[in-house]
């Protein structure tokens, strides 16, 4: 009896489900960043708004990367529904705290997919995920550095204005320590 399933799809049903969940997570992440950009813009934090617009676009690119991978491997990529996007935030700082939480959650979720892939020896997907691990290194670094500005500069007086000015300058080099 021929192995029709393997011929049609490189990834297993379980990995496909996890990748589709990740597609949804990236879409939610992109929408959340867009919402953060909106809040920052409304409250006069121009540079931070710009920073979050860029982040939203990046998350969207990540989503598409997963989406195309599932299709390339013979799976069914599902276009996700994004609901419950937050509109209001209590403070400027809260936004950056949520941004970091979000990135941590994305990293953990990708680690979980990789663990599943290792279990079923799907090294093809592991290799695909490696790009994201490097990306997450940068994403978490940027989010953490942005939050640290609040402690370094302080929010009193023109503090928030100063923080906003520095958010756009956060940069992560290609290799660690750059």
């Amino acid at each position: 009896m021929k192995d029709i399933i393997r011929v049609k799809s490189l990834i297993s049903a379980d990995v496909e489900t996890l990748l589709n969940q990740q597609i949804k997570k990236e879409a939610q992440s992109s929408s959340a960043y867009l919402s953060m950009a909106s809040w920052c813009d409304r409250n006069g934090f121009d540079n931070s708004a710009e920073y979050f617009f860029k982040q939203a676009e990046e998350e969207r690119q990540h989503q598409l990367k997963f989406y195309r991978y599932v299709l390339d491997m013979g799976g069914t990529a599902l276009s996700p529904e994004v609901t419950n996007v937050k509109i209001e935030y209590n403070s400027f700082r809260e936004i950056f705290e949520e941004a970091l939480d979000q990135e941590i959650s994305v990293t953990q979720s990708i680690k979980n997919i990789a663990a599943r892939c290792h279990k079923e020896q799907d090294y093809v997907t592991v290799e695909f995920l490696n790009w994201f691990f490097k990306e997450q290194r940068e994403e978490e670094y940027k989010a953490r550095r942005a939050l640290e500005l609040f402690d370094l500069i302080g929010e009193e007086g023109t503090g928030r204005w100063e923080i906003d000015k520095h958010v756009g300058k956060i940069h992560y080099g290609n290799e660690a320590g750059e």
Binding site: M1, K2, D3, I4, I5, V7, A13, T76
Partner: protein, 121 residues
């Protein structure tokens, strides 16, 4: 009719069967024949996955606990597929059992292929 059955049986391999039904694979047509609820239906790769998803998605426990006076009948319609099933609760349970067994056997077949032909000894 008898001739068709005979012809079918020569190129089909049984994947899994229960007392209520059976699933056969046709290597030449790259598809599966599902013999259940009084009919033999042909499913290709995409459609059998859709069938699996549709049947697995039925919440059997919820139907069992549902005390409303609606009929215990579930209509399983698969998009872009010519077959449709109208199943009672007992049939759903048997169909799920049949499909679960089928997919376990297909995974086993994949493991056997890996071991026998794909991985050098």
């Amino acid at each position: 009719m008898q001739n068709t059955t005979l012809e079918v049986s020569t190129h089909l391999a049984e994947v899994y069967s229960t007392v209520k039904g059976a699933v056969y694979q046709s290597d030449s047509e790259k598809c599966w024949y599902v013999d259940f609820a009084g009919k033999m239906a042909k499913f290709d790769y995409r459609n059998i996955l859709k069938l699996k998803k549709a049947i697995y998605a039925i919440d059997i426990e919820e139907i069992l606990l549902n005390s409303s006076k609606t009929a215990d009948v579930e209509i399983v319609f698969i998009c872009a597929c010519e077959h449709c099933y109208v199943l009672t609760l007992l049939e759903i349970i048997s169909f799920k059992e049949l499909l679960e067994g089928t997919f376990v056997m297909l995974s086993l077949n994949q493991i056997l292929h890996d071991r026998l032909y794909r991985i050098a000894a």
